[in-house]
Every structure is written in structure tokens, then in C-alpha cells.
Assembly symmetry: C2
DNA sequence: ATAATAAAGGATTAAAATATCTTTTATTAT
DNA sequence: ATAATAAAAGATATTTTAATCCTTTATTAT
């Protein structure tokens, strides 16, 4: 559905958002550790997110990644749009180049329904809402530590 | 969401099903042409579908691919299961190794909803239903011919 | 000014998915 | 039996996605 890069990206952003208010900024080393994502790859993704204004960064000592209030109040779909684009929400489920109500693939209606359910969640849910759950401890952005591994 | 191979596969099977009753079997050359999918790749996919019993085939002159009544009455999910597996319907939307109601990712509920909508359509829709639409001409498994191209 | 820090940028590698090509096997018609 | 047909099987190539590594730039503290 959405790419691995995008899944890492959402987890990273939600983690960053959950640290809103803390004075210290987060390095990509910290972020990748906290969301169990490969360090160098996460750095690339954070770079893209910074360039597009989803998150902010400052270089040098005491620098790192952080988010502004306005950024936290964005919908999650903006992250998906930046990393994967929105095509997946509009493409034909069976891969036809053009597929519409007037010339549908055999699964058009069913697929559209599912796609829209997902697009709706991503559009209506804000980063803040997800971050709050993480802060509360009612949801998680990292894997459970496996005792004896790592 | 589902792989390209799987999308070609569904289109190929629906096409084959729509030819149920015709005496002549279909070659992979014919099938790939009729669903606008790469010939050699389609052959591979048809091979997998044959081995798993989704469709049938016979080698040699007058041979080719075809479907039995029982095969046509299967749910579409069986095609997905054979080509991609069902993991996609059970994996975490944000890529966590374990994600459940008791230890959810921040989007767990929303994602589950969308995933189940899709799994439900695939499970409740039969190949026959899709093939009927194609036979009626109310839906399509191939791209619109672009005048002057091809 | 200089050294240290941390992200940005660019180049490269690895793995997976997509796609093609060649050889083999089964079946049929002659 | 032999030639022709069509799928099965295996090997190889290409493209995309995922991931790493190395160099450069900006910022800060000394």
C-alpha cells in the first residue's frame, strides 16, 4: 500500500511530534533508534520531509530535527503525499491506465470504497492526534524490545 | 497495495472466466494481449495460477488455459493469496513487527478498518461475478485502445 | 579563527520486483 | 515414429525500492 520509506517517515514524524515542547532537538541517530528504522535511510527520509516543510531542522551543535506547532497540526496525508505521492489513492486497483465510473474495471466500486476509507483516515487524522496517543502510552512507534536481542 | 503481478493475474483470470463455455482454450499470447500485460511475464503468472489450481491448462496442440465451473465460483481473494499472499491484510500499516489492539501503532484502528474493507470485497466477490460484468460489457479488463498507438 | 557538531547532498551498493529469453516436457495430428 | 504446438521450467536481465557510505555545508562553542 504505502512504501517502507513512507511508513518509516510517519513513525519518525509522530515521534518528533511527541517530543514537542522538549528543548533539545532530535538527531537522526536518535529518531531512527526510537522508531527502529535504519539510520542512514531515515536520515534521507528526514531530509525530504525537511525540504518539504513537514518538519524543521537546524545544522550544527545543538542542532537537529524538531517541529513547530503548525506542523504538528497538519494532516498525516501530507507525509504520504511528500514521500509516496497521492497516486495510489486514485489509481485503478487492477492496474488499468484509465478506470472510472464510466469505464470501470470489474472491481472499481469495491476498490474505490476501500481506497477512500484509507484516504479519509489519512486526511482527517492530524499528526498531533497520533503523537498524543504515543505520549499517553496508548500507542507505539517502535517495536517491542525482544529480550536478549539487540 | 497489491503487486503488479497480482493485478495482471486478476485481469487474466477474469478474462479467462469470461470465456467460459467457448470450446477453444486460450494461449498466454492471447490472454496477455487481451488484458494488456507483458506476454512472458503473464506466462509466468499463469503458470503459478495453474500450479495452485486457480485455473487449468493443457499442453500441446489445441491446448491452452481454461477454467472449470468450480474454479470460476471461487472468491477473488484466492488469486491474491496465490500470488501475493495474505500478509498485506494483516500487517501493520506503519510497519511495526507486531501491532495489535493490545499494543497498537498510532493508526491501528483506522488502518484495520480500511484493510478489512478491502479483504471483505476480495473475499465476498467471486470470479464469476467479475466475469459476468465483463461479458455484459459493463466493465473491462483491458485498456482503452489509444487511436494511432499500438 | 578553529575545532567540533550535525544535517544536506551525492554517489554507490544491495535486494526485491518486474520482465525477458531459452530450453525442456507433454500432447496432438500427420 | 515424426513434426508441430503449446505450456512448464530455468536462467538471465532490467528496473525500482531500500539501504549505506562518503563528502560538503552550516552552525556553534572555544
Amino acid at each position: 500500500m504505502i512504501s517502507k520509506a513512507c511508513r518509516y517517515g510517519i513513525r519518525a514524524v509522530v515521534y518528533l511530534a511527541s517530543r514537542y515542547g522538549e528543548t533539545a532537538k532530535s538527531s537522526f541517530a536518535e529518531i531512527s533508534r526510537e522508531v527502529d528504522a535504519p539510520e542512514a535511510y531515515t536520515a534521507k527520509i528526514l531530509q525530504i520531509l525537511t525540504k518539504s516543510g513537514i518538519i524543521s531542522s537546524i545544522k550544527g551543535p545543538n542542532g537537529g530535527f524538531y517541529m513547530e506547532r503548525l506542523q504538528i497540526d497538519q494532516a498525516v496525508i501530507n507525509i504520504v503525499d511528500t514521500i509516496d505521492g497521492l497516486d495510489v489513492f486514485y489509481e485503478c486497483g487492477l492496474g488499468l491506465k484509465q478506470c472510472s465510473a464510466s469505464r470501470p474495471c470489474p472491481m472499481h466500486d469495491q476498490y474505490k470504497m476501500a481506497r477512500e476509507t484509507l484516504l479519509d483516515s489519512f486526511s482527517r487524522t492530524t499528526i498531533e492526534q497520533l503523537a498524543r496517543r504515543v505520549k499517553e502510552g496508548s500507542s507505539f512507534v517502535r517495536n517491542l524490545a525482544i529480550p536478549g536481542v539487540g
